[in-house]
């Protein structure tokens, strides 16, 4: 019985994965047509990007501050506090920036996108568009997908900037580290190609993954209040797992 259930559960997972793959291809296919709806794309970039700025900035600041505190303590054991700026920057650029930004966007914008599309499905708005000969994939799904891909790396840059600012606040203003040492070591060690761009590539991939999951979950949400609620939850759960899994795979290839 359990084996049957597990097989069923596995089958369901594989079927969903296949459906998501087909949906991804359809969304990509609708991308050229969706560029006609550039206003909608701008609106979505505003919604995913600008509306997530506050949470990304605040979280970036605190992550940078905590990083600086923890690393200062660890580095002081080995007498290497001069490297604080470098280590904070590397941690942010290579790992924490892309990953935490993606998790935050999945929680704030991803859930909203899923709920919005799910409700559009439940209230026949997607069918109405289709009946008015407007492809909902091109008008609704593709702009939201593209908006995530565009907004995520921009948000990651803001997160990193705020994180470094937070690290500077703690390291230099509070713990008394030399300002020149903090910036000098950082700029001489962190490279554009190896560190900054690698983080940006991750962010672009995470942006695509989070948007795809959010849009797919909304598009396929059962047209009930419970169905939309479950789909919204699934967006956060699946996005979080996939972000961390992709992060491992990409890090393994990049290092």
């Amino acid at each position: 019985m359990n084996a049957n259930l597990r097989r069923h559960w596995l089958l369901q997972g594989i079927v969903s994965l296949g459906e998501c793959g087909i949906f991804f291809v359809a969304v990509l296919g609708a991308l050229p047509k969706s560029l006609r709806y550039w206003r909608e794309l701008c609106r979505q970039v505003w919604f995913v990007g600008a509306m997530s700025l506050v949470i990304v900035m605040v979280c970036g600041l605190f992550v940078g501050m905590v990083l600086a505190l923890q690393l200062y303590y660890t580095l002081s054991i080995f007498g290497g506090t001069a490297a604080l700026g470098t280590v904070v920057a590397l941690s942010l650029f290579r790992e924490l920036g892309p990953v935490v930004t993606a998790l935050l966007v999945a929680g704030r914008a991803g859930t909203a996108v899923t709920a919005e599309i799910g409700l559009m499905r439940a209230t026949d708005q997607l069918d109405a568009m289709s009946m008015m000969a407007v492809d909902p994939l091109a008008y609704v799904a593709s702009p939201r997908f593209l908006a995530g891909v565009i907004a995520m790396p921009l948000l990651e840059c803001v997160f990193n900037a705020m994180g470094i600012f937070g690290g500077h606040l703690v390291g230099v203003s509070w713990l008394g580290l030399d300002n020149g040492t903090f910036w000098g070591n950082m700029t001489s060690t962190v490279t554009l190609h190896g560190d900054v761009l690698d983080g940006l590539y991750k962010s672009i991939v995470f942006g695509g993954v989070v948007s795809l999951i959010a849009v797919f979950q909304g598009y396929t949400a059962p047209p009930t209040s419970e169905g939309v609620a479950y789909s919204t939850t699934r967006t956060v759960v699946f996005s979080s797992i996939v972000i961390l899994a992709f992060d491992f795979v990409m890090t393994a290839f990049m290092t």
């Binding site: 559009m120 109405a128 008015m132």
Partner: protein, 282 residues
């Protein structure tokens, strides 16, 4: 009308039919919705489709617009086999069809004006001034020109339905499908909507198919009524003619009787057994 007479409800194919349905068979899950449905809708007519709840009236509309594919049979609209159309051709056909959804389906992010303007903005590159005039004309026709700036959340159910109606007719399509257009309308709005449907039909020759239950309203507006039950067409004719037919179907449906060929109760186990009364008398 006897069952033999019911069989005579089958029509001869019409060469001037905008909509032709032949041998339509549809099954959703385990439920058979249509079991060999045939009907024609003449060009330029107002046709009402009636029948008990759950009999597939909305499903029929979804077949006409290609939202559903039949298991067997054919659905032709303006000579085109809907199920065989490519996506592009289907969308081209839909540009010529207006659809009024049962729950209005207004786009909640847009104002009333933008909802009505939506199809025009997508498919016609009109100067903003002309577009504005067209939208306001349609809103005036449904009595909601003054509500152009409101959001859908600020509308009552009846108002939302009238906005959806304005949106459905904004392109002056060749065919308008109305799914329950009279629900939630007050008598004044109902009268105006009836007049609008009739005017669109007479002045522009727009073919209309109405799914509705309000016999009094249908008598005023429809040229022909199709009565569907048990997956088949069981009666057809002019509204007055149909209301006076002596068929078990029409007698039960128009008389609102619980007993007849259409069961009022959904299939269930024996009532007394389910309540635990069976065998107690012994």
């Amino acid at each position: 009308m006897s069952h033999d007479q019911t069989a005579s409800a089958k029509h001869e194919p019409s060469s001037d039919a905008l909509v032709q349905v032949r041998g339509l068979r549809t099954r959703i899950g385990d439920k058979v919705i249509f079991d060999g449905l045939d009907l024609d809708v003449p060009r330029g007519s107002v046709t009402a489709v009636m029948g008990p709840s759950g009999t597939g009236k909305t499903t029929l509309l979804r077949h006409l617009t290609g939202q559903l594919r039949p298991d067997a049979g054919s659905v032709r609209v303006d000579g085109e086999e809907v199920a065989k159309l490519s996506r592009r051709a289907l969308f081209a056909l839909r540009e010529r069809i207006g659809f009024l959804f049962q729950n209005s389906a207004l786009l909640t992010d847009f104002s009333v004006f933008e909802n009505v303007a939506f199809p025009l903005r997508q498919h016609a590159k009109l100067p903003e001034e002309l577009l504005r005039d067209i939208v306001l004309t349609k809103l005036q026709a449904v009595g909601l020109r003054g509500a152009a700036g409101l959001m859908p959340s600020e509308l009552s159910g009846g108002m939302a339905r009238r906005v959806a109606l304005a949106r459905a007719i904004v392109f002056d399509p060749m065919l308008i499908l109305y799914d329950e257009p009279f629900v939630g309308l007050d008598p004044i709005a109902l009268n105006q909507v009836l007049r609008l449907i009739r005017t669109l039909n007479r002045t522009l020759g727009i073919t209309s198919i109405l799914v509705a239950h309000e016999l009094a309203a249908i008598r005023q507006v429809a040229d022909r009524v199709y009565l569907i039950a048990n997956g088949k067409l069981v009666a057809q004719g002019a509204p007055d003619e149909l209301a006076h037919q002596n068929s078990p179907w029409t007698r039960q449906f128009f008389g609102g009787e619980a007993d007849g060929p259409v069961p009022f109760h959904y299939p269930a186990p024996d009532y007394a057994t389910e309540l635990g009364f069976a065998g107690r008398a012994q």
